[in-house]
Every structure is written in structure tokens, then in C-alpha cells.
């Protein structure tokens, strides 16, 4: 008989995944076009800037970037897990409720308006993308709610997301077509997903928000398990479905909006990581969410390392790597596990 998931077993699994993530982060921080001496780097900062270059590269540049990639990867993977469960749709990803188009529209408006200010270390693109993503999700929720006759129907929400995405995509295309070429280039680069260095304050505030959001999502995981059986069954099993859905959507939208404002639109992570983890560890969300956070983080750290080294000294947008690497990786998993899983048959 299969064993019941206890908090102790989960803690052990989480601990090993965390060690794996930290190991991947450490390894990827060392890898780069500029070789660094670990001994020199760990000797601490020099009195004058530029003297201990190894320290500045490793601790000042690569480590924050690796942490940022891990955070964004964890955020996207967790939001994918939650939205796939709440929408009962294996094809759902963090951008399904219109976040991608909303953030994209916000970003292109910021580029076209030529703003140069910075808000708490965040660029206009990041700030506008964050606001655009949240407004869009709110709009999608309102349309879905009204179309569903006062109920948060999954199908109407999905359709509202598709319609808003399509409409905003058209507006983005229009704005891109009238923009100058240098503006278009920076927008497209952002839309492809790109991990770049952020200020310390942005990094730590985002980290706190993302980690707090994921921890809150963890408290509804047992209810998400039941919700995948449908609203009627979930209610019969004592789950307040409306409260669970609103919590899940609101937190997923908020976390995704932060991730998007940090790194642009990085595809595939939120779709394939939850499936890959589900195929190996099973669909229990109490385990799926924390393990996906670790694996998603590790995946994006590796992808970003490849993106910054493969065509060095130039850098690729990390979204290109996640799509190129993620697709075949997922196909391998699919071939290996498809016999076990019903919705793949």
C-alpha cells in the first residue's frame, strides 16, 4: 500500500530538494566567461572598489542574479501548479489569465512614453508591467464573474483570459508597429524574458513577497487537492471553494506580476516544471508546490547560466533557453511516464 504523506516525510523531501537547489545555484554562480578564484572571492571585499574583482563578480554580480533566477523560477513554477489545480486544466500556466498581455502592454507603454525615473530601484518597464499585469487579472476576473452570472466559473474565467489576452496582444502589435526601432528592440527583448541585475532593495523586497506568497499558497494545498475533483465534490468535502479560488487566483496573480516585473515573460517554466514534478512525485499539492518551487528555481538558474555563457560575451534572453531546453526535456518525461498518467493517454 502507498504511504500517507506526513509532514515529516515532506520535510525530508523538501530538505533534499533545497540542498539540490543551493548546490545548483552555487555551481552556476561560479560558471561564467570570467573565471573567478573562490579563495579570493571569499576573502571579503577590498578597501577600494575594483581591487578584489573576484569578490565583486561572484558576490556582487553573479550571486544576486542567480538568486533572482531562482526566485523567478520558483514563483512561476508555483503559480503554474496552483492555476493548473484551480482551473482543473493541465495546459494552464501563470500567464493564462491575461498576465502576459497585461504586463506586455504595461511594458510597451513605459518604453513608448520614454520615462526614465526609477521607483524604489525598479525601472519604469518593471513598474508598468507589474501594474499592467494586476489590472489585467482584475479585469479578467470581473469579466469572468459577470459572464458567469455572479459565480467564479472556471470556463468563463478561461474564456475571459483568452479574450483579454487576444485584445491586448492586438494593442501591443499596434503600439509596436508605430514605435521607433530602438524602442521596439528593447520591448521585444523584455517580452522574451530576461534576467538582469537588479538593485538590492528590489531583490530583497521581491524575495520576501514571493516567499511569503508561496508559503501562504502552501496552506491551501490540501484544499487544492480536493478542488481538482470539481467544485461540487470539494464542497461536499468541506472546502470553501469560493474562498480557496479567490486566495489562489489573487496570490498567483500577485506572485506572477512580481516575477514578470523582475524578468519579463519567461515561458515554459510555469507549464513544464509542475508537470515534470507531478510525473515524478505525484499530484499531491502539499508536496507538488514546495518541490516545484525548488525544481523551478534550479531550472531557471541553469537556463540563465546557459543564456549568459553560450554566446558570450553576448547574452541570450533566458526565455529562449527555457523554451529550447524545456520542450525536449518535457517530451522525454512524457515518453517515460505517459503510460502511468491518464490525461496523457
Amino acid at each position: 500500500m502507498t504511504e500517507t504523506l506526513t509532514s515529516k516525510k515532506l520535510a525530508i523531501t523538501f530538505f533534499f530538494c533545497l540542498i539540490a537547489l543551493v548546490a545548483v545555484m552555487a555551481l552556476c554562480a561560479v560558471v561564467g566567461t570570467q573565471k573567478v578564484s573562490l579563495a579570493k572571492a571569499f576573502s571579503g571585499p577590498a578597501d577600494t572598489p575594483g581591487k578584489n574583482i573576484d569578490y565583486e563578480i561572484l558576490i556582487g554580480v553573479r550571486l544576486p542574479r542567480v538568486i533572482l533566477a531562482a526566485l523567478v523560477g520558483a514563483a512561476l513554477a508555483c503559480c503554474g501548479v496552483v492555476l493548473q489545480a484551480v482551473l482543473r486544466n493541465p495546459l494552464a500556466d501563470p500567464y493564462i489569465l491575461g498576465i502576459s498581455s497585461g504586463a506586455g502592454l504595461g511594458a510597451i507603454i513605459a518604453v513608448l512614453s520614454g520615462l526614465t525615473w526609477s521607483f524604489w530601484g525598479g525601472s519604469p518597464i518593471a513598474v508598468f508591467a507589474f501594474i499592467g499585469a494586476l489590472i489585467t487579472v482584475w479585469l479578467v476576473w470581473c469579466i469572468g464573474y459577470l459572464a458567469g452570472a455572479g459565480k467564479s466559473q472556471v470556463t468563463t474565467l478561461l474564456l475571459a483570459g483568452v479574450v483579454v489576452n487576444a485584445f491586448f496582444a492586438a494593442v501591443i502589435m499596434f503600439l509596436t508597429s508605430i514605435a521607433k526601432s530602438d524602442q521596439v528592440h528593447s520591448t521585444i527583448f523584455w517580452l522574451m524574458g530576461n534576467i538582469t541585475e537588479k538593485s538590492q532593495s528590489v531583490l530583497w523586497v521581491s524575495a520576501a513577497c514571493i516567499i511569503a506568497g508561496i508559503m501562504t499558497l502552501f496552506t491551501i494545498c490540501h484544499r487544492l487537492n480536493v478542488l481538482t475533483f470539481g467544485q461540487d465534490q470539494a464542497k461536499a468535502l468541506g472546502v470553501d471553494t469560493a474562498a480557496t479560488q479567490i486566495t489562489a487566483f489573487a496570490l498567483a496573480a500577485f506572485i506572477t506580476a512580481i516575477a514578470v516585473s523582475l524578468s519579463g515573460l519567461i515561458g515554459f517554466v510555469g507549464l513544464i516544471v509542475p508537470h515534470a514534478v507531478r510525473l515524478v512525485f505525484g499530484p499531491d499539492h502539499r508536496r507538488l508546490l514546495p518541490v516545484s518551487a525548488m525544481i523551478g528555481g534550479a531550472f531557471l538558474v541553469v537556463a540563465d547560466t546557459i543564456a549568459r555563457t553560450i554566446v558570450a560575451p553576448a547574452q541570450l534572453p533566458v526565455g529562449v533557453i527555457t523554451a529550447i531546453a524545456g520542450g525536449p526535456f518535457f517530451l522525454i518525461l512524457l515518453a517515460k511516464y505517459s503510460r502511468k498518467v491518464s490525461w496523457l493517454k
Partner: protein, 277 residues
């Protein structure tokens, strides 16, 4: 014996113009096995959804275990009533044990981990329903009968005094239909559970249930013992089909007589002998 479910002047319609249920009044005794029968579209599942709190009545009052149904939170109501729906395959591949363990959701703490007593209750439910043998298999890899047994195991593990079932045997073969009803009857007798099942199978209902709520297409209903309510005339009036009613010992059975029934010599013979009487 006291009533565990009480319905007074219950009215419900999905639109204001069309009432499906009008002025329903009935009580269900604690520890009884009751079936809700009737033709398609008369509101059997709607009534079940009202009894489990999924729908709210337009007018009237529903009492669950001496308290109004709307005085219960979703969690507290799930500790009183378990519901088994028609056969179903979930989106993601939960194993049988994971599925049955979800029955403990109304009892779990903030982080949602089962305690030792929860694990023991789940184990017992798997054993009673004979589903422990495939506890590690996923629901998608089970037959319809096995899957239905899993959902009944989940309802047992929910450890509620009331069990509501919506056509629990609609997609099953004869052997599995009988197995499911045997399981429910055993739970009624050994655990004192109150069982309310929506069914189209009046033969199984006549055999296993003490009471019946027969809903008619004209929005009328009859409530009473299966012996009294399931008469040849009442079945014909409710379903619009002639039936041959017979007995084997104390068990009543009904054979629906279609257009070509006279071609069956055995039934013709029985029909003639009934006419002569």
C-alpha cells in the same frame, strides 16, 4: 427513532417561472435506508443537492441532525453528510489511497496533514470496501465498479452519520450493482448510517431500502415504505410503463412490459394468470 433529516414546505426552481420541487414535506429516520426514485428530469438530483447544501431552497426549511442546514459551515456540514456522485475520473492522477484520504479534509488542521486516527479511519474504509488491494493504483486505471467503490470508501472515511448517493450504480453491471448495495446495507446495519440514494433501479431499491420517496413528472411525490409506495399502479402512474410485479419470498420485483413484451411466453403466461385472478 429520531429524524436525522427533516424537510418542510421545500420549494425550488432553477428559474422563478418553473418550480421543480413544490411543497415537499418528509422526514428521514436516523439509521434508515431511503431511496429517491422517479422518471428523468423530476428533480431527484436537485433534491439531493438541496439535502447536501449545494443548493439553497427558494422556500422552506431543511433540518440536518436537529439544526437548520444553513446554520452549518461548509466544513461542519461535511462532518455530517458525505456525498457520492456518479462515476467520475479526475483531471490529475491521484491514487486510490490519496483519493480516500481526502475524505479527512473537514477534520484536518491548518497545513492539512492527516493524523494517526485519520490514517486508521482511511485504512478501515479501504478494507471495508475491499479497495485496499488496489490502494496504490490511480483512479484512471480502475474499472467503473472499482472506481465507484473507491468513492464509497471515501464517503465512509468521511465518517458522517448521513450518506447521500446520486445513482451510485448507473454505469455498473449487475454483479457490481449488487456489490455496491450490499456494501451500503452493511454500513447501514453495522455503523448505523443513514443512507439516501437516488436510483432508477426500482428492483434494487425495493430489495434494499425501507422507505422510498417517489417523485412524479406532475411535480407530485409519494413518501412511505417501499412495500406501499412501489405498487404496480403507482409505478405505472409515475413512470408511464406497465410492469409485471412478482415476488420471490418476501422480495418484490418488477419487470417493465414494453411493446414487445407479449412475445415473451413466460411474461405472457404470468400476465394471463394475473388477469384471471
Amino acid at each position: 427513532m429520531s429524524d436525522i433529516l427533516k424537510v418542510e414546505n421545500l420549494c425550488f426552481g432553477y428559474t422563478p417561472q418553473s418550480a421543480i420541487l413544490k411543497n415537499f414535506n418528509f422526514e428521514i429516520e436516523r439509521g434508515s435506508f431511503v431511496c429517491i426514485a422517479g422518471p428523468n428530469g423530476v428533480g431527484k438530483t436537485t433534491l439531493l443537492n438541496l439535502l447536501c447544501g449545494l443548493l439553497s431552497p427558494e422556500e422552506g426549511y431543511i433540518e440536518v441532525d436537529t439544526a437548520p442546514i444553513d446554520s452549518y459551515s461548509v466544513k461542519k456540514l461535511a462532518q455530517k453528510i458525505a456525498v457520492v456522485r456518479q462515476e467520475f475520473v479526475p483531471v490529475f492522477d491521484f491514487t486510490v489511497k490519496e483519493t480516500v484520504s481526502m475524505a479527512r479534509t473537514p477534520y484536518l488542521g491548518r497545513l492539512g496533514f492527516e493524523t494517526k486516527p485519520d490514517i486508521n479511519i482511511v485504512k478501515e474504509a479501504l478494507q471495508i470496501t475491499d479497495t485496499a488491494q488496489f490502494a496504490s493504483r490511480t483512479l484512471a486505471n480502475l474499472s467503473g465498479g472499482e472506481r465507484q467503490r473507491v468513492f464509497i470508501a471515501r464517503a465512509f472515511a468521511q465518517d458522517t452519520p448521513i450518506l447521500l448517493l446520486d445513482e451510485p450504480t448507473s454505469l455498473l453491471d449487475l454483479k457490481h450493482q449488487v456489490a455496491i448495495y450490499d456494501l451500503l446495507k452493511t454500513a447501514q446495519r453495522q455503523k448505523g448510517k443513514t443512507i439516501v440514494a437516488v436510483t432508477h433501479d426500482i428492483n434494487l431499491a425495493a430489495q434494499y431500502c425501507e422507505k422510498v420517496l417517489l417523485l412524479g413528472a406532475d411535480r407530485s411525490y409519494r413518501a412511505g415504505s417501499t412495500e406501499n409506495v412501489f405498487s404496480t399502479e403507482q409505478i405505472e402512474k409515475t413512470f408511464g410503463v406497465k410492469t409485471f410485479t412478482g415476488r420471490v419470498g418476501r422480495e418484490k420485483f418488477f419487470i417493465p412490459l414494453g411493446k414487445f413484451a407479449k412475445d415473451c411466453p413466460q411474461i405472457s403466461k404470468n400476465l394471463n394468470s394475473e388477469k384471471q385472478k
